[in-house]
């Protein structure tokens, strides 16, 4: 028998979880869509965003500064990664790209473990968002509520950058046909660097925003990475709106399935992904993109 309060709670929780997945996935998808690189270090970058924010919080006790530091640090890391390593792999087989980004991810995780140990670290939510909110139909952690809003604003900002600016236009054109963009005299490799930075920043931002919800450990990015890939596949590889839609769908699937049997949450997630791939091989909002 369905418990209605529980169903509503879970639907709402799915929205919160989905929003976060959407944000992380959007970073992954614009990197892949533009550069054609599947960044397996994305989960590690999500984790590093959390730790960079944690360190900042230790020194400043300011959550806002922690968010800024976490985002910027990972953005710079992304730019450095692209300049030093990734750009050498654009014309190499996908498996080489997978291996190098996977390897970088491992290095990042172990480096963080070396510095911070495996002990979990806590970043408390800002005072404004501490405690629990009574929504009438349920009690819900105030900070998680805030995360939905924060993520919505962040996704809105990303949307504006991608769809209302010249840079965004170039990026989207790059997703469609990077060779043509290059032919038009635009330095496509500089665009690639910026895109990698933006994608990384989305992961870093999500990492620090998520930190008060989960407590930090070096392995925190591992599970998120898998979910993120599922989201990207469901939504459509390279599609920014697809990442948002995929994130929300994934969040709801995990939450609603959990109401009946949490053990099947991931089974259902992958079942949904399979179903989408059968019906729409390029994902719900996917484009042919680069092949």
């Amino acid at each position: 028998m369905i418990s209605w309060p529980n169903l509503v709670s879970q639907l709402f929780n799915g929205l919160a979880l989905g929003a976060l997945l959407a944000l992380i996935s959007s970073g992954l998808t614009i990197i892949y869509g533009t550069l054609g690189v599947l960044n397996l270090a994305h989960g590690a970058m999500f984790m590093i965003g959390g730790y960079a924010g944690f360190v900042t919080y230790q020194y400043t006790e300011s959550f806002i500064l922690a968010v800024i530091a976490g985002s910027l640090f990972v953005m710079l890391l992304g730019v450095a990664m692209e300049r030093v390593i990734i750009r050498h792999f654009y014309h190499r087989p996908h498996e080489d790209q997978l291996l190098v980004t996977f390897g970088l991810g491992i290095c990042f995780v172990e480096l963080v473990r070396l510095i911070f140990s495996s002990q979990s670290q806590i970043v408390p939510p800002p005072a404004l968002f501490q405690g629990i909110t009574n929504l009438g139909f349920m009690f819900y952690p105030t900070y998680r509520l805030a995360v939905v809003g924060i993520v919505a604003v962040a996704l809105g900002a990303l949307f504006i950058v991608l769809y209302r600016t010249r840079l965004g236009m170039i990026v989207r054109a790059g997703i469609e046909d990077s060779v043509m963009v290059d032919s038009l005299g635009i330095n496509v490799y500089r665009v690639f660097m910026i895109v990698f930075g933006i994608g990384a920043m989305a992961a870093g931002f999500a990492g620090i925003v998520n930190a008060p919800v989960v407590s930090l450990t070096p392995g925190i990015g591992d599970d998120i990475l898998v979910q993120t890939f599922v989201v990207v596949v469901i939504g459509g590889v390279g599609s920014f709106p697809g990442a948002i839609l995929g994130g929300l769908i994934a969040g709801e699937i995990i939450s609603v399935t959990s109401m009946f049997n949490p053990g099947y949450a991931y089974v259902m997630l992958f079942a949904a992904m399979t179903l989408v791939l059968v019906v729409r091989p390029h994902g719900l909002l996917g484009v042919q993109g680069r092949e």
């Binding site: 495996s118 979990s120 009690f139 392995g219 959990s258 949490p262 053990g263």
Partner: protein, 444 residues
């Protein structure tokens, strides 16, 4: 040797060989090490033909149990150091020890199991074949412990079990070549159950958070069975995979279940995260929390959420007032590592000290002889008083310590997290040795 091993191990869970020059051990001719001239079996006598004996250690250094694994490793390292130098504390547990075990210096290798059975088995298989490990240890995940039980029986190399709370480890999956010092989930339930009934009353509704593997399921079942005798019911059992990234969905089910008590069987970081999130979701304001199988460092890592919470544990450092050996251990451990040991380190230390004693008493590393010495069931010292191993299932019969989280204002120092409520003798808590279907198997 060290570099060679690391180079050959390509995953993040690299094998950290902490000893040097041992490759020669695997090249030595097979010859009897002692005058007792026993037939070769497992790594015996090849592994102890020289001046050293090798121990294979697999602990989780990554993943959800990493913190507990590192602590466990420290307990092993201290025990090996103490055994090699003939430390006073070891001599209290193993009076015949002089230096090393039977005069052999102990060397060891460490592998990261990541709490995954396959990782642990692969690493230990290497320790056995390449280093001629005379004893292997590991655990922290009972799934790993059960897998290493099977490996030990197959290879005829003794497995001295590390942290493992499952009823299966010395129950249905017990083996002749495995021994365990820490207790069953069933024992924890039998110890903490009466305290819960006394504290919360009869006929209560319980919600469970259960990790989805042998430890979780057996501990939850033991708790359910015991509490059912006091009229308690289970309103929901939320089974989560090991290392779940988020417990919000599970906790919403718990919050809407109408339970009086949340029994959190999760362990390691899973326990920390689920407890923190239970607080975030207001679950801990609605119902009482109980941790039936205490997690080392959970009080510290949850930022004090264990205040007022009952837990069953193997060891808490403040029992040093009653047990002189515990005091010696605490002092030695804190001097070396800078913090008070918790039960993972204690279990590791005592397990090795007991193994050293059994080898000394047997006068040989020969596995059947060492096993038979365990099976004598003699009363022997430990850090929590006298204990013995049951010959029928190789389970140590030892007390369970019930603790209750202290309020912050009552803490005398930053590690004074718990009051010891009760030290429950082990004998009255244990089910019969065959209750979980243990059949040990052969010696050879």
């Amino acid at each position: 040797m060290t570099d060679d091993l690391i180079r050959r191990h390509l995953s993040r869970r690299g094998l950290l060989q902490t000893t040097a020059g041992l490759i020669g051990g695997s090249m030595l001719p097979t010859m009897p090490a002692f005058a007792d001239d026993k037939p070769a079996i497992g790594s015996y006598p090849a592994g102890v033909s020289g001046s050293t004996a090798f121990i294979g250690i697999s602990v989780p250094r990554t993943g959800t149990y990493a913190v507990q694994g590192e602590d466990e490793l420290k307990g092993y390292q201290l025990a090996i150091e103490h055994i090699n130098e003939g430390h006073e504390l070891i001599k209290k547990i193993s009076p015949k020890t002089s230096k090393g075990v039977l005069g052999k210096e102990l060397k060891f290798g460490v592998a990261d199991s990541a709490a995954k059975p396959n990782e642990a088995v692969q690493a230990q298989q290497r320790f056995i074949s390449e280093n001629k490990a005379i004893m292997i240890t590991g655990g922290t995940s009972s799934a790993v412990a059960v897998a290493l039980n099977k490996l030990a029986q197959r290879e005829h190399v003794l497995f001295v079990c590390g942290i493992s709370g499952s009823n299966d480890t010395t129950g249905k999956d017990c083996v002749r070549y495995g021994v365990r010092q820490n207790f069953f989930g069933q024992t924890a339930a039998a110890a903490i159950g009466p305290v819960m009934v006394r504290e919360f009353g009869k006929g209560k509704k319980a919600a469970y958070l259960t990790p989805d593997y042998t430890y979780g399921h057996t501990v939850t079942k033991s708790m359910q069975d015991f509490l059912a005798t006091a009229g308690w019911t289970t309103v929901t059992n939320q089974v989560a995979p090991l290392g779940a990234p988020d417990y919000s969905s599970y906790l919403l089910n718990v919050a809407n279940s109408g339970a009086d008590v949340l029994i959190n069987v999760n362990w390691g970081h899973d326990a920390v995260l689920s407890t923190q999130q239970a607080k975030q979701f207001g679950v801990l304001d609605k119902m009482k929390l109980v941790v039936p199988y205490q997690v080392p460092f959970i009080a510290r890592d949850t930022g004090g959420l264990m205040q007022g919470v009952y837990a069953a544990t193997d060891y808490w450092w403040t029992i040093e007032d009653k047990f002189p050996l515990a005091k010696m251990f605490n002092e030695a451990f804190e001097k070396k590592y800078g913090y008070k040991p918790e039960w993972g380190a204690e279990n590791a230390y005592v397990s090795f000290a007991h193994w050293a004693r059994m080898c000394e008493e047997a006068g040989s590393f020969n596995p059947p002889d060492v096993i038979k010495t365990y099976e004598k069931g003699e009363t022997i010292p430990s850090l929590v008083g006298d204990v013995h191993y049951r010959p029928e299932d190789h389970q140590c019969v030892r007390p369970v310590i019930i603790v209750k989280g202290k309020q912050q204002k009552d803490m005398k120092n930053k590690e004074d997290w718990y009051d010891v409520v009760e030290i429950v003798p082990g004998e009255g808590l244990m089910q019969k040795p065959d209750a979980f279907g243990c059949h040990l198997g052969d010696y050879t």
